[in-house]
Subunit: 217 residues, 2 copies
């Protein structure tokens, strides 16, 4: 199903995506007690948040952006997978936001006060809008070829900006958690968080690069 | 000197750049006691850091990226301004990094342990490399037209990735400072930091958009 002739940039993107996933799971399972939305331990409820947000809105979304290049199938199939991966991302995003609000509720922490939450909620709202507009214009009911041609560069550019916004959200979230470690910031856990942040950033950069060089060069 | 026919996206980019600058100065002057590299108060030495990093590596750098579109002059003049603004950015970056190291030294804080510092130092190093390679290829001694044509998309894409990296650095830095406010996170200062972060992000997105739609649409 996957193209054999994937470029080096695409391979690098996949690699940093999978590395990020491994580092994230290692962090959450080894240092933070695991993840469980129905747990009595509120930290475990919280841990669902970073997993869902990264896996949906960064990893699946980035893979969805590359689908036209990496999935060896007809254009309509690629388009369907592109749409579907972003729809799954939205569902995971809703679960992830629910998780952090449930955690806040349990711990009596105020919602939406931090820079992380502001950037995150802006990203998620525009992501939703981008998906809806994309669906209406490119899938159903589908706009005229002229309108689609005019809208496509905005859809592509908006998608890339959203990926970088999602990465900014992730990095501010990791930064917040790491700063709250206090003295423990000089620990292996902190270094895991730092490597995770860098790996997520590199995933985004290589997704960006692999798309640009697929299209314009 | 400036083009009259700047597009709406360029105007939005300039606007969010200037808004960010105003919010940053308001934050540093009103809430953080001002900035002075030679002060006895270490906080004032620190404050030189966010100012230099934002003004150089985000604002001037973003304006430099748009120079081919906004400066009404011959191509070689635009190119010179593009190069010069990024050179000034590097100089300001060096002063900014010096400021935070001086602050750490005075306060006995370890260097380069946080995610912010890792992302920041990676960004600055690649920025320097990008400038050097750009200078050699496009200014002096200048490569052959074929090499330049092959290198240009990498230079453009790398530049955009670096802008988003610089913005990620800024946002993690702001997030770190805001988290260290502790209980004071629910204050006007915190909201100023949040608005500043969003404004910096929007500056980057509109610089990105204005360049893509200048080039490809």
């Amino acid at each position: 199903m996957f193209r054999r002739s994937t470029s080096g940039l695409t391979v690098l993107a996949h690699s940093f995506g999978i590395l990020s996933l491994i580092l994230l799971l290692f962090w959450l399972l080894h240092y933070r007690g695991g993840l469980n939305l129905e747990s009595d331990i509120s930290e475990r409820i919280f841990n669902v948040h970073p997993f869902m947000m990264f896996f949906g809105l960064i990893f699946l979304s980035g893979e969805g952006m590359m689908a036209y290049k990496t999935i060896a199938a007809e254009k309509p199939v690629q388009k369907f997978i592109h749409m579907l991966l972003h729809l799954i991302a939205i569902c995971m995003g809703i679960i992830g936001i629910h998780a952090v609000l449930k955690f806040h509720n349990k711990e009596n922490i105020e919602d939406f006060y931090s820079l992380h939450s502001w950037v995150g909620i802006a990203t998620f709202s525009i992501f939703l809008l981008q998906w809806l507009v994309g669906f209406v214009l490119f899938m159903f009911p589908k706009a005229s070829p002229g309108t689609r041609a005019r809208a496509l560069p905005w859809h592509i550019c908006g998608g890339r900006a959203l990926l970088y916004m999602a990465i900014s959200s992730a990095l501010t979230g990791l930064m917040e958690k790491a700063t709250l470690l206090g003295d423990k910031y000089h620990s292996n856990q902190a270094r895991t968080i730092n490597f995770l942040g860098l790996s997520i950033l590199l995933f985004g950069i290589f997704v960006d690069f692999s798309l640009v060089f697929a299209r314009y060069v």
